[in-house]
Symmetry: C2
DNA sequence: GTGAAAGCGCTAACAA
DNA sequence: TTGTTAGCGCTTTCAC
């Protein structure tokens, strides 16, 4: 059923029917009611491609997910963000155009989507500290919003981010207050801004407490179980095991836990472990199942709000960049103990 | 740059330029070369919305991901499938329109996307044994392909699936051949067809070996760490611990492993564990890191090929349903030992 | 081998 | 308050 057919059936012009459907004020309310009823009855929905051609708005947002050559896997946190964004888009009548691609092809995707007029804006995922995409997208000219931040740039851009620095600051302070002097950080790839921010928070807490950071206790590593395993084994074998560890990801913590068990070390008794993470459950060494506030829900919320910010940018045309820092819940297991309980 | 501008610049009609660009044979090759060069120089790309309106093809495929009310998380396997599909779509000039939505809203999404003419077909994720979507989509009339299968239906539909039944058959046979008589199955939610198929394979192996299955050793549970933990504890505490377990998911296996450790049981020595899963690394009890062939790559491959099947369905209009069963690599850790090595 | 012209389904001036 | 008339940017008959 097209507008033409519908309006013929109603004995009205396409214009009037279109106006009635789109809520224009100049339509007689009786007419509008008739139109709405007929539209509902015929299950009429405007052809989105035709609307877009006529209005010049694609009514779609492009999400481009670059897959790093080695880390050949879609990050579940991204999926969570997208789930939130999807909800907003639907509510606002937008669609989400997703492309998952090898990193080296991403630029082509952005350019192609933009010049085909398939999207009205972009969501940028997994920003690096120094990310070429800011400049690229500013040149392309479509509005975009970054999920996360870029550290080194003079370009202006809009973003929404969780406060990774703040949460790692708090995590480190917690351990310091428990009396720990040697605290290791097992962090993600620090080319990625979020990991870099986490390190900044960690160091900030140490410095504020008058402690210096020790680069031999700082690790930047892919977020895999085997990373956690081998780092922990190395620490133990080198006799450098700290009394506390902050682990950037649940999956890494699994490796840590395993290595500790192998070495006869017990979490909480021998070493306090904080996991900042996205998973919903965690076991401490005693087998209890503590409740966690997960960052997962924060990320979903960020997706929800980030999408709204992007749509605002798209609608407004020209305003300054929008920026929002969201509080990130710190996920702390019950596997932290005051230092004097360590042997 | 539009066709109009480009053709004006070339002193040709829009028709000729369009034909040259789209590879129609009746264009003079010299003309075509001129056109292609000018198009490249001007970075011309046709407005996709206009193309779609003119051709009646949206050049997009809809992926609708239903979020179960409780399992409020995007399954990483789905992400992997979509990564594969995205690659195919891009190669074929299609876009992927993604919607992540509460389960109860999915039907509206399908209807809306179809009647707005925003997509040419659908990919169906997470099919249940008895899934209303087959009937719904057959009624809607757009081509669709199911990633997975539906067990109870008379409707015809196209699908691509991994051979879950076959891989669990093999896993169970492996354990039987090692001499095990009591083998537990910790499975996912058996409303989902893939989990149901896994159980069928498990039972099939037992029956073929002249062993009866024991429903007290069969568990259908959400794929979480705590499921694995509590099931294992219950088995131990009830004195029903089998000598071998087949665990449907890595994350569940973590809970199993933990519970076993708590109870003083050692994997491989006391109980053999097979994990059918998607993760890339796994530690057996001795801390070695065995190599695995992951189903992850199979799933990515399925996405690649499934998308192609769907595009074929879209292109061909009317042909019978296409169906393809892919071999799924079984992921086996080194934590299986012949029964006589168990104490 | 090339072009004129109609039309895809809608929106948006401009008239009435 | 409603209708007439152009487009939006492309594809596709149909003529030449």
């Amino acid at each position: 059923m097209s507008l033409k057919e519908l309006s013929a059936q109603l004995g009205l012009s396409q214009t009037t029917v279109s106006r009635a459907l789109n809520g224009y004020p100049e339509v007689n309310e009786a007419t509008r009611a008739r139109v709405l009823q007929a539209a509902a009855k015929n299950n009429y929905r405007p052809n989105q491609r035709a609307v877009s051609l006529a209005t010049g708005r694609a009514m779609a947002v492009g999400h481009v997910i670059p897959l790093a050559p080695r880390q050949n896997v879609v990050n579940p946190i991204m999926a969570e963000f997208i789930a939130g964004a999807s909800h907003t888009y639907r509510k606002m009548g937008y669609e989400l155009t997703l492309t998952i691609t090898a990193e080296e092809d991403a630029e082509n995707i952005y350019r192609s989507l933009a010049s085909k007029r398939s999207v009205d804006g972009f969501m940028v995922h997994s920003p690096l500290r120094n990310d070429y995409r800011i400049e690229l997208l500013n040149k392309i000219g479509l509005p975009f919003l970054v999920h996360g931040r870029v550290a080194d740039t003079d370009e202006s851009y809009s973003w929404i981010d969780l406060d990774n620095q703040g949460s790692f600051l708090k995590a480190t302070q917690l351990l310091i207050n428990l009396g720990h002097k040697k605290i290791a950080l097992i962090n993600g790839n620090e080319e990625l801004t979020y990991a870099w921010h986490r390190k900044l928070g960690y160091r900030q807490a140490l410095l504020a407490a008058g402690m210096d950071f020790d680069e031999e206790l700082e690790f930047s590593t892919p977020l895999t179980e085997s990373s956690g395993y081998s780092i922990t084994r190395e620490l133990v074998e080198a006799g450098k095991m700290p009394t506390a560890m902050i682990v950037s990801s649940y999956i890494v913590a699994l490796g840590v836990r395993h290595a500790l068990a192998e070495c006869g070390l017990r979490i909480r008794d021998d070493v306090s472990v904080i996991t900042h993470d996205d998973e919903l459950s965690y076991f401490d060494n005693a087998g209890s199942v503590p409740q966690f506030t997960s960052t997962r829900s924060s990320v979903r919320e960020a997706g929800l709000r980030g999408a709204q910010m992007l749509l605002d940018l798209i609608a407004q045309g020209e305003t300054g960049p929008q920026q929002q820092l969201m509080h990130a819940e710190l996920v702390i297991g019950s596997s932290t103990a005051p230092l004097d309980s360590h042997p």
